[in-house]
Symmetry: C2
Subunit: 351 residues, 2 copies
């Protein structure tokens, strides 16, 4: 979280300017909150260049609820099949929820190489009449990130889980049918999920799905069909403004993210094989730098010594092992530099 | 929101004690957050006297998601029918979601008297093999509150929407199969919903319902099946501690709420018919005081003059009209006294 955002939230905690009360106390129907909500939406729209053909929703339930909502809205009752590119852990969870709603098939699955790569256009074929093509733009656990949208026939809506790389770089929204991101990586606090979707697409959904999952309810009511997560939206709006006004937009953010991640990948590549990147070079993530060390003992030593240097949360997921450094937008260059310095030191002492 | 809670949140915004970072920055798997979550659960358990036979969950999606989740877990696929007591607007919304999951029937509906009353035991009959009996303990819009749990056969789980009177008084949890409350009335900020349920009851649910709706996922993972709404849980924990330590528990809270609400009902009753309470006397709510004035003109005048006196959010819902004063736990006596004073003044000037 950018420190300037935390300071503003702190300053306004007892009294939201103009409200005479805390944001935690006013109703979601209060016109001050409605303005905050619209401002958050509009800042996202301007950052991403979202056209009026698309809705921007704020929902609860995390990315996980979207696994079900997408299939309930776009697959249930269509008689079509949904096609998934499985490039890591989150895609696998998503398809298992989709299977409850209809036919969902993995048309690409990188499990044989433990999700270290992404497909090229020749590695899969999307049916012209698929309900949608689903992929995860950045697999958080494996650290593999698509550099461009996967190939997809014009007749098929492209759906993306952008949870862990939303707002890390410009995004061509008009290539998508729907994309979504839980906020807790790059966009704000846990408790709100942004869903961007082509309005015409969700009009066709079956209204007999659970009401909270039915996107049209949220779209028709400007994310106030029921009480939205007011505080999380308020903070997300401030983070979006920070990106626009302090950072200077998503192209600028991407530049910073490239510098930050390159500095770590360089250390990996120049370590003479001591650090081994998990993701293939061409699909390395700007957000999650995953690598292994020569042994479990060295991995444990790395994590414990890093912790003593106030470098926390570096343990890789058990499915990948090793180290995962998550360097989201708000992680300052100094934080990445400190980690790079530690990696170089650790190599010189143990390599 | 109690001011002491807001001040603590403000003090801790940049740095959560022991964390070296803001609560908005740490992972939901960080042991400091896990402690906060368990502490919030345990404080609720001690306030309400919840036994180990019950789970206490923190979910997203608001009370509205529970309308669907309850029916998906307890009705879908059972071949049974769910029975509903309709005593106001929220129960009606709940049954419309349940109908998507199976047979759901209103065995009592007070619509003919515009939801001004509650049923006695002789006004409805619950089937011995109903999937559950559902009611709303306090209908927020109409201001009707059950004084005791409705009669229900021992074979039928009792389910309650306690959103707008949770923690306003002691609650005999062991009479319930399941009860839930969105936090934004009495328990905390918008963005978290507390669900308390008999563990054995939800074991039987169909695992093919959407994963986020399947209670067992949340129960088996201590509300961390996916990322929970960390900030809302953190504030809810502080509100629960305030109730226990500063107020002195739920019996004490009820005493205060009775004093606050009685003072307003007294003005209504002694107004010579100028103020007419919407709810019948025996089912008046401690939380939402609803009443009408002699004309629409006087109602509009009341709301506008009250606003000028910094008494806000008094407009009744269009289905009831008139005035609704919501006097939740955190509303201090002085706030209620100011409203009472204004009501007396307004009567003397317009009565
Ligand atoms: C890419 C991706 N998808 C989905 C999720 C699940 O999000 P949530 O915990 O909000 O359901 C995560 C969380 O880490 C993620 O990184
Ligand atoms: C009794 C009751 N039930 C349900 C709801 C809906 O809650 P939410 O907006 O969190 O879905 C409310 C909200 O005001 C309520 O008062
Ligand atoms: Mg809109
Ligand atoms: Mg509400
Ligand atoms: Mg537990
Ligand atoms: Mg997460």
């Amino acid at each position: 979280m950018p420190e300037s955002v935390l300071r503003e939230v702190q300053d306004e905690m007892l009294c939201l300017p103009g409200a005479g009360a805390s944001l935690l106390e006013i109703s979601h129907r209060d016109k001050l909150f409605v303005e905050i909500l619209h401002d958050a939406e509009n800042t996202l729209r301007s950052l991403l260049g979202v056209s009026d053909d698309y809705g921007v929703l704020f929902m609860q339930g995390g990315a996980t609820l979207q696994f079900s909502a997408i299939a309930a809205n776009l697959l249930r009752g269509t008689g079509k099949r949904a096609e998934y590119l499985l490039t890591g852990s989150w895609g696998k969870k998503a398809i298992s929820e989709a299977k409850k709603e209809g036919e969902a098939v993995a048309i690409y699955d990188a499990k044989e190489t433990n999700y270290d790569r992404l497909p090229g256009a020749s590695d899969y074929t999307v049916s012209d009449d698929a309900a949608y093509l689903y992929y995860c733009s950045n697999e958080t656990i494996q650290g593999v990130q698509f550099q461009n949208e996967p190939e997809c026939p014009a007749s098929v809506p492209l759906v993306s889980d952008a949870s862990s790389d939303f707002l890390c770089r410009p995004l061509p929204v008009d290539k998508y049918g729907l994309l979504y991101a839980c906020a807790q990586k790059n966009a704000g606090p846990a408790g709100v999920t942004v869903v961007v979707m082509r309005k015409d697409l969700i009009e066709k959904a079956d209204p007999s799905i659970p009401g909270y999952l039915y996107y049209k309810n949220h779209l028709d009511n400007d994310s106030e069909w029921n009480t939205p997560p007011t505080f999380a939206i308020y903070v997300l709006g401030k983070v979006a403004r920070w990106l626009r006004d302090d950072i200077g937009g998503l192209a600028e953010m991407e530049k910073i993210n490239r510098e930050k991640s390159s500095s770590l990948y360089k250390i990996i590549d120049e370590s003479g094989g001591f650090y081994r990147g998990h993701a293939n070079v061409e699909c390395r993530s700007l957000m999650n730098v995953t690598f292994n060390l020569p042994s479990d003992e060295l991995t444990a030593k790395f994590i414990s010594e890093a912790g003593a240097n106030r470098l926390a949360a570096l343990k890789g997921h058990r499915s990948v092992g090793g180290i995962r450094a998550s360097i989201y937008n708000a992680m300052p260059r100094e934080g990445v530099d400190a980690l790079g310095q530690f990696m170089a030191d650790f190599l010189s002492r143990n390599g």
